[in-house]
Amino acid sequence: MPSRFVSRRLLASLLLSLGAALAPVLASADNHRLRVGITLHPYYSYVSNIVGDRADVVPLIPAGFNPHAYEPRAEDIKRIGELDVVVLNGVGHDDFADRMIAVSEKPDVPVIEANARVPLLAATGQAARGAGKVVNPHTFLSITASIAQINNIARELGKLDPDNAKFYIQNARAYGKRLRGLRAEALGKLTDAKGSELRVATIHAAYDYLLREFGLEVTAVVEPAHGIEPSPSQLKKTIDQLKELDVQVIFSEMDFPSSYVDTIHRESGVKIYPLTHISYGEYTARKYEEEMARNLDTVVRAIQDEGV
């Protein structure tokens, strides 16, 4: 019957178009792009450079929030439900992430401990409370400790996404080489300098890992706790201490400027150089390299200016 024939053809074409519509969905299910959650800006750059265009990198906290004072919000917790893995600093800079993951739709989402193979330093300044058990979480502010984390993240991502494992390792290696280039360039400007004799103070206890690369040790940390300004009596004590220790250089915070830093400069006469903590602004793949290049330049300038 012609009408039955027509309805069969209609059914067949319907099935065909349904198949065509479903094909990309099924294909993408096969070739599932990994969605990788990160907590801090440097980790966005690390993971973006490792995965290239083969996975998505999703910040847990939106740009513009200070990770030191971040309190989890419902919409940020919701986002964890769509993730395949979360990369953590894990040593004290993103403690909020554990709580967020625990209450999310995916409490068992795999976690990569970026610092698992990094030799950690003890916390300094006020953060050292707790009888030496607190570690300094700012491993991302050093080139060498960053490369250790990048290699570790790439290896762990490869286990979750074996098809791209080799690609991730190659990218991590190329990225590590670029970062080592930044370090070499900075140290190349200091051939004859004796940086280790420089007496250094920092506003925030974040730069020990970075300064180790120059053989420098931090003599004093000024800030009582991150984001908390010292009281006038604490400030006086700090200035006396800087004079007593004969500190030559203070590394301050570029992202969180404070007026008391000017007071310290005025009263103690010690020159101040701002470093960035790389935890402010938009998340970009290039951010880490750009800001670390600036940090390395600043340390080089400080050592050269002091002529030690």
């Binding site: 894990g90 401990e113 610092n115 698992a116 060498t144 250790a148 140290l187």
Partner: protein, 188 residues
């Protein structure tokens, strides 16, 4: 004149009750705290080891971290070259601490050499100034980085790379522990 002694209504029991209540609050609080407390025992290192965080100075900490990272690169280069790279090759690749830069100068002027002892290989960095940093030994094994330190000023190349022999020769193994921030709720 008659004197009548009037005892207070509570007859001095208030003080007793307040004392009992205070004591019970303290006991309750102490019980709750002791039940909820977690012991954070300091992990001590073995006698032949030295703790990377507490016992190394700034220069040694810098070199130790770089050796841990360098091992990743050494093993990858070994895959490509089918042999372990010489320190010279590592320096050309820009891999610290094998590079010769201002940081080498400020951290003890180490001179690096690939040792071949029996079937074992190790990278030895002899310190030019043991007061600044000790001499290092990185055993080239695919497991986690096995790094040893010797602070004496007259270090000679070891004749045997096994742990007992190294300990006898005055080397100490650098132990590095990973412990997440104490502020964190552990789930790993």
């Amino acid at each position: 004149m008659t004197t009548q002694v009037v005892r207070p209504a509570g007859a001095g029991h208030e003080s007793l009750w307040v004392a009992v209540l205070s004591l019970s609050i303290i006991l309750l609080a102490a019980t709750v705290i002791s039940l909820r407390s977690e012991s954070h025992e300091e992990e001590s290192v073995a006698a032949h080891q030295i703790d990377a965080r507490r016992d190394l100075n700034a220069a040694e900490q810098g070199i130790h971290t770089e050796l841990v990272v360098a091992l990743d690169e050494i093993l990858m280069l070994q895959d490509e070259l089918q042999t372990l790279p010489e320190p010279q090759q590592l320096a050309e690749e820009g891999i610290p601490p094998f590079t010769n830069d201002s940081s080498t100068a400020t951290r003890g002027h180490h001179v690096w050499q690939l040792l071949h002892v029996g079937d074992d290989y190790a990278y030895q960095g002899l310190s030019g100034d043991s007061a600044v940093a000790g001499s290092f030994l990185l055993l080239a094994s695919p497991a986690d980085a096995d790094i040893w330190l010797n602070r004496s000023s007259d270090v000679v190349a070891p004749q045997n790379l096994h742990a007992d022999a190294l300990i006898a020769a005055g080397w100490r193994q650098v132990a590095s522990q990973y412990d997440a921030g104490v502020t964190r709720q552990h789930r790993h």
